[in-house]
């Protein structure tokens, strides 16, 4: 370990910007960004499935609130939502005296809430479209088999909808990664926050931001690769038959 650190230090000896300290900031930023994006995507996905089903409901009392939620969160900039949630929670009377404040006091959770609600709204719309485009014949066949609504959803509609939604959802994941760059406005030291810090310290915008751009590119590459792999497996039946 020590040998590794010495080697790294020697490598970095002739530049004043990328020292072990600043690389440490980038490292912590990477962890924060990945945590923030991963958690918000997972929670957003879990929220989006029932919302997408409800969004297509025949009952207006279920459909309309979900429509309204999606409309608001897709219709306003994420930055504005982040500000509203970060500074807005304070206006809830007496919140500073409850245990909730212990969580909301740190910038991480307000940002996580904003990102989650935002991605859930987009994902709901992606899934709704996929559910809606289920071929009629599949539904009729399921009914003909006497499947209940729940069983039909679970066995027929949702599995094929998820497959259809996959490419669009992969896009949403990449967007979310890039959108997370605004987390630093509420003092979170994410990747962009680290880049801003280094930039501010050394007045070297190109070095600081090119480096961080490269890290984002690597992350995006991993996401693309993951989704390509997933598509290959799950959408294998759509590939033209070969041989």
């Amino acid at each position: 370990m020590e040998a590794l650190m010495n080697w790294l230090e020697a490598q970095l000896a002739d530049n004043s910007i990328f020292t072990l300290q600043t690389l440490g900031y980038y490292g912590e930023g990477l962890v924060t960004t990945v945590q923030l994006v991963f958690l918000s995507l997972i929670i957003g996905l879990v929220l989006a499935v029932p919302l997408a089903i409800g969004r297509g409901s025949r009952h207006a009392w279920l459909r309309l609130p979900i429509f309204f939620y999606c409309y608001v969160f897709r219709g306003t900039p994420l930055l504005v939502q982040l500000y509203l949630i970060y500074y807005g929670v304070v206006f809830v009377e007496g919140i500073q005296d409850t245990w909730l404040w212990l969580i909301l006091e740190k910038p991480f959770v307000p940002a996580l809430i904003a990102f989650t609600l935002n991605t859930a709204a987009y994902t709901t719309e992606i899934f709704r479209g996929a559910i809606k485009s289920t071929p009629r014949g599949e539904i009729e066949a399921a009914r003909a088999y006497g499947m209940s609504w729940g069983l039909m959803m679970r066995r027929i509609v949702l599995p094929s909808a998820f497959r259809r939604a996959l490419p669009a959802y992969g896009n949403e994941v990449i967007f979310m990664l890039h959108a997370s760059a605004i987390a630093s406005v509420v003092t979170i030291m994410d990747l962009t926050g680290a880049a801003r810090f280094v930039y501010a310290r050394f007045y070297a915008p190109f070095d600081a931001f090119l480096f961080v751009a490269a890290i984002y590119l690597c992350l995006t590459f991993a996401i693309i690769y993951f989704f390509r792999h997933l598509e290959k497996r799950l959408l294998a039946h759509l590939k033209p038959a070969s041989g």
């Binding site: 304070v90 404040w101 006091e105 406005v185 003092t187």
Partner: protein, 259 residues
Amino acid sequence: MHNAKLLLAATLGASLFATTLHADEPIRLAVDVPYEPFEYKLPDGTLTGFEVELGNAVCEYLDEACTWVEQPWDGMIPALQARKFDAIMSSMAITEERARQVLFSEPYYTTPSAWITAKGNDIDISDRDSLEGLTVGVQRATLQDNYVTDLYGDVLEVRRYASADDVIADMRTGRLDLTFMDYPIAEAMIDIDTPESDFKRVSDFIKEPEKYFGQGVGVAFRQRDRELAERFNEALQALKTNGTYDEIMAKYFSYDVKL
């Protein structure tokens, strides 16, 4: 081919002509507003403040037209390099790192910083161990940021904000226990050291070490604009001696900021 040459000649000619005309173009000075009492806007939208008035006085002395350009702080130096304006007169303290990028005039003022907390908090800055785990807010990319990060980064949790407004907002929400702030800013924004203020100062005025606080605040120019910097130095020196500087200073400060 011939046309291209002609065009080239015309462009060259035009650019030569432009340089000779340069004297008539206004000098563009950049500020980041609001930064009371140095630069801020009156309710009717006019720009004013200590540096704005001083800058105008310099221009008047030099018999030059000046315009003010608003530029957010963290893009200040790159925008100067990109010729979006000609000089920064926005409380930019002279530091070695900045001096590698820009050319500074002689310093024209200096202000102390101070540790501030909410009234009701009991914090002793000199007792390092008692600071463990507290949060401090600073404006990103300021001297205060560097000072706190280097000297207190190991005990305090440093949170960096885009503007002083955001720091104050989170001081009020209770997210921050402390802020380390340029004192005049604290005076203007939260009436520090008055009975009405919600906040109190918990340290002396801090102006050292020079490594962080520099030699004071200077006007920043592009490295190559040596001539313009010299003229500014001459004007500032004249204003300091003929009483104009003191007159402006008295309007904004109850203490001496002159250098």
